[in-house]
């Protein structure tokens, strides 16, 4: 139950509602235990974008990290929020069940950042 108290009716649209993105939606991507990119990054993409486009953005950002080239992609673990999922790179975001403001958490077992620091 909201605890908001106001003097007058208080009804406003969410500032980040999906209709504000001209047909696109927000997507956050985090490489777990690689906090050098300490913040996950945010993208705006159409739901019909193939997941491979997300992988390209990940490579552009994360390849600065020496762990990137050691990733065993078969062992990578993916979560959408806290729910495990297996993305199909050739399918679209929508087909992969990815909605507005979803957070993709990408884990690479055995790779724990620079000197195992989580960075």
């Amino acid at each position: 139950m909201t605890l908001l108290k106001t003097l007058a009716p208080y009804e406003f649209k969410s500032r980040d509602a999906v209709e504000n993105y001209q047909g696109r939606q927000l997507l956050y991507v985090n490489w777990e235990r690689h906090r050098m990119f300490s913040r996950p990054f945010v993208l705006a993409m159409k739901p019909e974008t193939p997941f491979s486009a997300v992988l390209e953005e990940m490579a552009a950002c994360f390849s600065y990290h020496p762990d990137w080239q050691h990733i065993d992609w078969d062992k990578a673990i993916w979560q959408n929020g806290n729910t495990p999922f297996t993305p199909d790179r050739n399918k679209t975001l929508a087909e992969n069940g990815i909605g507005h403001k979803d957070l993709i958490r990408f884990r690479t077992p055995g790779l724990d950042g620079i000197a195992g620091t989580g960075y």
Partner: protein
């Protein structure tokens, strides 16, 4: 015939005549119509006359004291500037502290001035009205003197000239802006708890003491004097904040749970806001005063702990977030600095990797965390920079919906894992950085679903320089962020190789050699 000389008024009588006696209750209009804001938050006040004025300062005395302080301050500023005081600071890296401070603090002083002006209008009682008006003038004075003390540096160094433009636009300034926007859009009593109590009382020392001592340690007499000139005002502000808390709690037992929730909320919001002070202390001051961790222990754990012990008699308990702030004091300054280091093209101040002896200082001050979690990545960045591959992260960050910090804090109890929290409101997901921010969101989702998150606004196409044709076929949102922010290119990048670094060295050489 003898002249009859009226007796000089005592302080107490003067105060009564010059403040409370000037107020009246309205008769043509109902008092509740004239003061509509002091009831809707649910705080019950039965007798405004019970407000104790901690200082009993009258306006005429106030002007006299403040004018005296101004005269001293500006004499020192003039002397410092005329003697090229900027060249006497420890090292040109120090000037980046001023750049960070200029963007983040004076604009918030101005917001505080606005907020306390509103309080001066809205509070029913004459006592709090006068106290809030004085504080509004103080805050305005701090806003001005801080800018004046830094303005001389602006003649010589890059990145300071557009701080006012950047305040509502730069990604890293949005946490402070959001903090004050949240407070000022709350009701008057919540504002008093937010700014008067949580910020001015519980947390202000951790902002001002390190900044002022840092200035003193690093040869910046200008900023140091501004700090000292503000100190007696701060003492008055702290007392006002505390008085307001006690007043609310003494007026009605129903006020306790509301006040407690605000204390919990605003102590946490203030803590998040101060993460950048930590990095200033640990990474940016060439000559360090103490570590952020030590400052947190002294000013927040000990002093704040004693304060909450004192408030226990009213039923107030220590803020819920307290134990998490104690755990985080080992981490936040490092996490913040790495967060800024990675964005050399997106701040008007320079960043750098600490020297080896500075890293040793950090190891000594942070024996539980620095070597284990942070030194290796800093050494990696250092090696990359020396190999000509300086880190330059180009992506737009994810931010917390409440504190608007970039997501960079770890899961409590696990420094390796990032902390994420999520809420759903009206079918939309909202992400927060911590349990405490999530709770704030969940309590008032109508308010926080409107948070201005700069990276989202960029993607909506709302962050373009004036005159951009957003309907052009090749238009890409966020294509000219430097133009939108009015970032001076000379102010970007690593400190090493910067124009500031070169000029400072050359000018100091000229000052000491033929």
């Amino acid at each position: 015939m003898d002249m009859k000389v009226a007796k000089k008024l005592g302080l107490k009588e003067r105060y009564a005549l010059m403040t409370r006696d000037l107020a009246w209750d309205t008769t043509y209009q109902k008092m509740e119509d004239v003061f509509p804001q002091t009831t809707y938050e649910g705080i019950k006040i039965h007798d405004w006359d019970k407000w104790e004025d901690p200082f009993r300062l009258t306006m005429d005395a106030y002007w006299k004291y403040q004018a005296e302080k101004e005269r001293k301050l500006y004499a020192i500023l003039d002397g410092f500037n005329q003697n090229n005081g900027h060249l006497s600071v420890t090292d040109a890296r120090y000037i980046n502290v001023l750049k960070l401070f200029l963007g983040s603090t004076p604009p918030l002083e101005l917001m505080a001035a606005r907020g306390f002006s509103m309080m001066g209008r809205q509070m029913n009682g004459a006592g709090p009205r006068v106290a809030c008006q004085m504080q509004a003038v103080d805050e305005y004075r701090h806003f001005q003197t801080q800018i004046h003390s830094i303005s001389n540096y602006n003649k010589y160094y890059n990145g300071m000239d557009e701080f006012a433009h950047q305040q509502s636009r730069m990604w890293y300034l949005s946490d402070g802006k959001s903090f004050f926007d949240d407070a000022i859009t709350a009701g008057p009593f919540e504002f008093m708890v937010a700014i008067g109590f949580a910020f001015e009382y519980v947390l202000t020392n951790i902002l001002f003491v390190p900044f002022i001592s840092g200035a003193a340690y690093n040869g910046d007499m200008a900023a140091m004097t501004v700090g000292f000139s503000a100190q007696s005002d701060e003492a008055r502000h702290m007392t006002l904040g505390l008085e307001c808390i006690k007043f609310m709690l003494e007026q009605d037992p129903d006020n306790l749970p509301i006040v407690q929730r605000w204390i919990d909320k605003w102590t946490w919001r203030g803590t998040r806001k101060l993460a950048s002070v930590g990095m200033m202390m640990d990474y940016m001051l060439p000559k360090r005063i103490m570590s952020f961790k030590e400052a947190w222990e002294m000013y927040v754990e000990e002093n704040g702990g004693a304060l909450f012990k004192d408030l226990a008699r009213y039923g107030i308990t220590i803020p819920k977030c307290f134990s998490q702030t104690i755990e985080e004091k080992e981490h936040v300054s490092h996490q913040s600095w790495i967060g800024f280091y990675m964005k050399p093209q997106a701040t008007p101040f320079h960043t750098w990797i600490p020297t080896p002896d500075e890293m040793d200082w950090l190891s000594e001050k942070y024996p539980n965390t620095f070597d284990q979690y942070y030194r290796p990545v800093l050494e990696f960045f250092d090696a990359q920079e020396k190999a000509g591959n300086r880190f330059n992260n180009q992506t737009a960050p994810m931010n917390c919906q409440v504190c608007v910090s970039t997501m960079k804090f770890n899961e409590p109890g696990d420094p390796m894992e990032m902390c994420f929290r999520e809420s759903i409101y009206n079918g939309e997901k909202f992400h927060t950085c911590s349990d405490h921010c999530k709770e704030i969101f969940d309590n008032e989702p109508e308010k926080y679903s409107q948070t201005f998150i700069s990276s989202h606004q960029v993607l909506q196409g709302n962050c373009e320089p004036d005159g951009t044709d957003t309907s052009a076929p090749d238009f890409k949102p966020g294509q000219d962020m430097l133009g939108y922010w009015k970032l001076d290119k000379r102010a970007l990048g690593d400190f090493n190789g910067s124009e500031d670094q070169k000029n400072f060295a050359a000018w100091r050489e000229q000052a000491t050699k033929n």
